[in-house]
Amino acid sequence: MYEFTPLGWLKHCVFHPIEGFEDLRWKKQGSMKIAMTIVVLFFIATVADRQLIGFAFNNAYTKVFNVVPLIVQSFVYFFTWVIANWSVCTLLDGEGRLKQICINSAYALVPYIVSLFVSVIISNFMVLDEAIWLNAVSLLGLGWSIVLMFQAMKAVHQYSFLKTFVCIVLTLVAMLLILFLLILLLSLFQQVYVFFYSLYTEISYRIRG
């Protein structure tokens, strides 16, 4: 039936939201390399959206550039989504494997990333009165990506419509749980570190004294 290059498959998925991911699944296609590139581009788009957007449109606190929130907004959210989705759907008879979920999710993000880049570029030629075009572009990209993500999850797990919806809601809950546990773990390690550090200082004072 369909014979595409890996990039051709990406194009097929993005422009055929209904059957694209199903085809991808049955043909056992999808490239991890491309998926990872998309995630990196997602990160770059997030940075560009903060730093390179037209001056009049930039509402960020540009005095300080801190990359950590942007990393969280792109990489951490994406991989948390993948892991949470895998954890939930394994329990709910989903057929998708971790790698497939990762690839499909990344493919579904493409319209959103493209809209980010497009709005960054055109915001440099636009005035505030024309901001409606920017909003239109980013809303279109976002909506498209949401539809694609839904279809991707539906195809990869071979779910019904309702089950996909439930699994996405559960995934979001699971994401919150994972992030919460991560923060808890981090603060715990911080305390452990402080404990050992104070132990070290105490001992070093005694040795010196």
């Binding site: 014979e3 595409f4 290059t5 001056f55 009049a56 930039n58 606190y61 005095k63 030629f125 005035v127 505030l128 009165d129």
Partner: protein, 579 residues
């Protein structure tokens, strides 16, 4: 040995000299700087250092202004031999423009002190000549307001707080005044339902002769009287700020029983502490409650309506931009902003005094922050710092601040930077951006981070049509809306200048597309054959190659076997036939 000692001695002398020089130079810099840390808020509401726009000019105590004359029997201003010769708990200062005189409510000494423009004593009033109630002497007068009428009569309005009355009296000479009107507690139910007491503090009189009085613990606004002293109603009350506490109470009220409702307090607005009237007759109020955000400063029209109660006005912010209590290094305490007095100067600048930090915030008529100066110190030894700053007044471009604890009057005068800044802001507010340009340039030369100056220069450049330059200035001060406007014009200009190129490019593009499609139709250009419908063969991994080789080998072996079997069968058949 001797040389070593000599060297040491020289070293010692040299180091002593260095120390001495550095000490003196340190002392010099300490003298040159102001007693306060000058700063201003930037676009992000972060405090950034700025040049000092005001410097301490002088400090006047009771001795400096000549209050001793009140004790001198040979002086024309003699009152009695035990009259206090220092101020005590000053609460208010008022500048009368016609006479060019300062009137000071020397509250705890129960008198009104009158000073000329050089801050020298010219009069003192301790009471009135006659009274219906029989009380002649003032008792803790908290506020004073003076009007000079066309016939030259000097009319004083005094908030005689502890006597619960407002006095309107005519100053007949330097020491006596004639009672014209005495306003006691209004008997009207409108008043008594709001307050049981009548303790007028600050007094203000508009051009029609209406008297406004801010009273202690009266949150319905100021009490308003007509020129005959009849109570007219309340004027300009603050609104109740919607906080989480108010919402909680409102919800609780729905479920509460009647008895519970009775015991619940109704939400009351915070009262405003002080007010001032500008040349156009608008009354400005300020609220002293800690960190008041709702109605902290209002500009009221004659009907008592806050004309800043709109979209632009909701963005205005007065005082320090802090949440909760914030640490202040000058007094080593935590503080919340308390705006205790407001003053509108002759140019329309709004000066607001913060009691908590002793800072004066200067705004232009559109409430853009111009400068901040002043400080507080717990030890009263620093000239120019305050301990109990109660009121401020402006005249001659100076700002006069009275301190009720240090009991003195501090005069802050504008520095060169400050005068350039104020001049530039005035021209800017009138819309004369180009006229303001040299002043902004002077300001920027002295303070390179002054974002107001960059905004002003940007607008001047925009007016002159230098859009690129304007964009740079607006970018520096982060004025996004102004930048956007400059960019709009810049883009328009660029399109006009490069119209031919843009037009040609567009035409060429359209023609090109048309020609190519035409040629394609005719078959002169071949349609690009879509590459690789098939997936390109992946490079096979070693394992796969091995696997394939194995398969091939197996296949070959099988074939060979089959062949051999076939041959064997054939051979058998041949053998059979032979048999």
């Amino acid at each position: 040995m001797k040389t070593v000692q000599m060297k040491n001695a020289i070293k010692k002398i040299a180091s002593l000299l260095v120390a001495a020089v550095s000490m003196t130079s340190f002392a010099l810099t300490a003298l040159a700087s102001e007693p306060y840390d000058s700063y201003i808020y930037d676009f992000w509401d972060d405090p950034v250092p700025a040049q000092a726009a005001y410097k301490v000019d002088n400090t006047y105590t009771g001795k400096n202004v000549g209050l001793e004359r009140l004790r001198d029997p040979e002086d024309e201003l003699f009152i009695s031999v035990n009259t206090p010769t220092s101020f005590s708990g000053i609460k208010d200062i008022f500048f009368e423009e016609t006479l060019e005189e300062f009137w000071i409510a020397d509250t705890l000494n129960n008198r009104i002190v009158r000073l000329n423009k050089d801050m020298q004593l010219v009069g003192c009033y301790t009471g009135i000549d006659k009274s219906e109630s029989g009380v002649l002497n003032f008792n803790a007068p908290n506020g004073v307001f003076v009007v000079v009428e066309d016939n030259g009569d000097v009319i004083m309005y005094i908030g005689d707080t502890n006597n619960s009355r407002i006095l309107k009296c005519k100053a007949t000479d330097a020491l006596t005044c004639e009672n014209l009107l005495e306003i006691g507690k209004p008997e009207s139910a409108i008043y008594t339902s709001k307050s049981q007491t009548f303790l007028p503090e600050k007094i203000l009189v508009d051009t029609a002769g209406n008297i406004y009085a801010v009273c202690t613990s009266l949150n319905a606004g100021s009490a308003q009287f007509n020129y005959l002293g009849e109570f007219q109603g309340f004027y300009g009350a603050n609104r109740v700020e919607v906080t989480a506490e108010i919402i909680r109470k409102r919800i609780w009220r729905i479920f509460a029983s009647d008895e519970q409702l009775k015991s619940m307090k109704s939400a009351a607005p915070t009262e405003y502490k002080n007010f001032d009237i500008d040349a156009e007759g608008f009354i400005y109020t300020c609220t002293e409650a800690a960190n008041a955000t709702m109605d902290a400063v209002k500009k009221l029209n004659a009907a008592g309506y806050n004309i800043w109660n709109n979209e632009a006005g909701n963005e205005y912010h007065f005082g320090d931009i802090i949440s909760g209590s914030t640490y202040d290094a000058a007094t080593n305490t935590n503080y919340s902003t308390r705006l205790t007095d407001i003053d509108i100067d002759e140019n329309g600048f709004i000066n607001i005094l913060d009691y908590a930090t002793g800072r004066v915030f200067v705004y232009d008529e559109f409430c853009s922050l111009v400068t901040i100066f002043g400080t507080k110190s717990n030890t009263s030894d620093q000239k120019g710092s305050f301990n109990g700053p109660n009121a401020l007044e402006s005249a001659y471009g100076n700002i006069y601040i009275v301190d009720g604890i240090k009991n003195d009057i501090t005069v802050y005068s504008t520095t060169l930077y400050g005068s350039y800044l104020k001049q530039a802001v005035l021209l800017y507010d009138e819309g004369r951006y180009v006229d303001a340009e040299p002043y902004w340039q002077e300001v920027l030369d002295r303070n390179g981070t002054c974002s107001f100056a960059q905004l002003g220069l940007g607008k001047a450049a925009l007016n002159r049509g230098e859009y690129k330059k304007a964009m740079e200035y607006f970018k520096d001060c982060y004025a996004q809306k102004s930048y956007d406007r400059a960019f709009k014009y810049y883009r328009e200009q660029w399109l006009q200048d490069n119209f031919i190129i843009v037009f040609l490019a567009v035409v060429l593009l359209i023609v090109g597309i048309f020609v190519i499609s035409l040629l394609m139709k005719r078959g002169i250009i071949k349609k690009r054959v879509k590459k690789v419908k098939k997936a390109p063969e992946r490079k096979k991994t070693k394992k796969e190659l091995e696997h394939e080789a194995e398969l091939a080998a197996e296949k070959a072996a099988k074939e060979a076997e089959e062949k051999a079997a076939l041959e064997a069968e054939e051979n058998k058949e041949i053998e059979k036939e032979e048999e």
